[in-house]
Amino acid sequence: MIGNFPFVVCMILIALGLWTLLTRRNLIKLTIGISLIESGVNLFLVTLGYVRGGVAPIYTYAPPGAKMVLPTPQALTLTSIVIGLATTALMLAFAVVIYRHRGTLDARKIRELRG
């Protein structure tokens, strides 16, 4: 039962992120919401690779016969973090540009594009 706890946390994080996206209208907060979803997914990936009682998957360090946690999900998480960094930076940059032109970060006030 307690082993499922990390998955519950992931789902809570993802749900919080979606909630932020749906209810907030500040561009920075929207970016934070997306980062929250991202953290939830990353946590999910890392949790997938955990083996109870496992050691770090570096085979020159591990004692012979020890169980290791899976290295692949960690590599996936790392890649996903890198991608998340790029998307967050890009979205913040767009928010900066929007602020420079319109003087506001409120998504309701900057809708030039509609219809």
Binding site: A56, I58, T60, Y61, A62, P63, P64, L78, I81, V82, L85, A89, L92, A93, V96, V97, R100
Partner: protein, 149 residues
């Protein structure tokens, strides 16, 4: 920022840089690697930005973007090294040359001279991430005030 902050920053920035370089260099042996070390180095740039203001650093923008490009080119070029067999083939591993020491079996503390192209790729990625993340921080710090075309 006050003189205390500036003095501390001058002391601590070389340490951050050294730690970042350590994380990159041991990427194939311990947790860490190009991205993590590069992020550590970029945090030094962020510290400089906070302490000395974005104006003092604005002139280095072009240098950073050039370094970023060079890191990326180096990474793809290293992947091209293996094109004799397949792309990304680790041709240096176990060859006895640079980073070519065969890995001894069994638990050991790890040897720096192993890993083939991996340490070189870590350096390329480290350069790319340090310069790229540094210029991201710098440009956001400038608030787009400079000419960013």
């Amino acid at each position: 920022m006050s003189v205390v902050v500036r003095t501390i920053a001058r002391i601590i920035v070389p340490m951050i840089l050294a730690f970042g370089a350590y994380v990159i260099m041991h990427g194939h042996l311990t947790p860490g690697g190009g991205f993590q070390g590069g992020a550590v180095i970029a945090s030094a740039i962020a510290l400089l930005l906070v302490v000395f203001g974005s104006g003092r650093l604005a002139g280095h923008k072009n240098l950073l973007s050039l370094l970023e490009d060079l890191g990326a080119i180096a990474f793809v070029a290293l992947a091209f090294l293996g094109i004799g067999c397949t792309f990304f083939r680790n041709v240096l591993a176990g060859s006895g040359g640079l980073f070519g020491m065969p890995v001894p079996p069994g638990p050991n503390p790890g040897f720096l001279n192993t890993g083939g192209t991996l340490p070189l790729m870590n350096w390329a990625v480290g350069l790319k991430v340090a310069a790229g993340l540094g210029s991201v921080v710098l440009l956001l710090g400038l608030f787009g005030g400079g000419d960013d075309r």
